[in-house]
Symmetry: D2
Subunit: 138 residues, 4 copies
């Protein structure tokens, strides 16, 4: 797992979008990756909440890297597709995306993810994702 | 339609994320909205292509604003959920997101969207979306 | 909960498709409903496994009825949309669909579901669903 | 195309579920397959309309067979996942599912589908699907 953590950290740091969003890799364990993002007006939609696209971006990355912890060693991963429900307004000081592998094979992994918002001292789920990740020869 | 175009432009300009991504509202017609985004390394994923999250963000906004052109006048819109397939690597100089209303009711609209990439003089579809937008009293 | 269990049983028994598929309501608790379906060649796809459509049908009903346990008393529910991943071939003697409410509001509920197959004495997940259910005045 | 039409017809006829639902293969052209299903109370949900699961089943098969028309010759296809929106109640005398390939590669195809209902002499779209199909060595 040390190798894969380092590999994920290196890959994460090369994602320009994660830096642009102010996102930070929190943890990478076997089958589960967490990414955090503080609130910023630069991420807002028209009501001042965080835009669905920013919420989606961090949980997509979390799911992809979770899949990478189970992918064959010579593979990288890309998102084939995902679906996401926004279950509460994305209001909060910080947002934590958690991606988890549900099943993984030689070719495809299926992950579920969620994003929690920290607001007034409490974490609440604001989005849930179901994603298909494909292994590609790196 | 003039009023709704102005309303969409005002709303778009208040979305911090669209500015952060360098996105620009191209057009807002009845049931169809187009948003453009130039390539930038600030939007990249680990292979240097544009991150799925940035692609998703512009087509989510395009679908939402397309739905707004058909929403009751006293309503704003939010994304309830969407699903997106990434059908080619997001490589290109510019990206055009097109959101279209398929059906709309008092409560919900269903939209489809796509993102096209301009590369070597040709436009190719890189992502397709199917989204559910909910009308909310503004 | 007794009322809602009886209401779900009555509604389930009025679904012609559930009878056609040989499906049976197993349990209806607050926020969670289970439906079972035995294998039959009448449900098969071209390889002899159970067709994705039959798997989808029982977990769609399970999610819908789970949502109904949390819906306002004067409402019925309909599926607005869902997404389902088929993570293993649907091989088995029996299939158990479990639908769970993740969040519910006045208007919409978001549910997750899974289908497990019993094969050689072991249950394995063969499909996972994420669904949006809408409350409708009955 | 003659070979593939015959292959699809043979495969369709081996799907027990299609017979159970009363579905019929209408046409199989390059990249597009149509399947029809008459109304029956055996397909109903609790309001007497056709159950979302039956609607889903025919458009899933239509998308899968559409993908098969573009798959490598030595491959069969299975649904990896799909997402479907139900945009109107499934009321009608007959239902027509149309599956179309959007993109196809060595490994995956992405299809869109819709189901139209014939009611009072007019066809209306009742559901739209976006699906990922995977090629498997047969």
């Amino acid at each position: 797992m040390e190798d894969i953590q380092e590999r994920i950290a290196t890959s994460f740091n090369s994602q320009g979008l994660m830096a642009t969003l102010g996102a930070r890799l929190v943890s990478a364990a076997d089958g589960e990756v967490q990414i955090e993002m503080p609130f910023s007006t630069q991420l807002s939609q028209q009501h001042g909440y965080v835009h669905a696209g920013a919420i989606t971006s961090i949980v997509d990355s979390a799911c992809g890297y979770a899949a990478l912890t189970r992918a064959p060693l010579d593979c990288d991963v890309v998102s084939a597709e995902f679906k996401i429900n926004f279950v509460r307004p994305a209001i909060g000081e910080r947002f934590l995306a958690i991606g988890k592998v549900q099943t993984s094979g030689k070719l495809l992994a299926v992950c579920t993810g969620e994003v929690r918002a920290l607001s007034a001292g409490a974490w609440k789920v604001v989005a849930i994702m179901q994603a298909t990740i494909v292994n590609v020869r790196g």
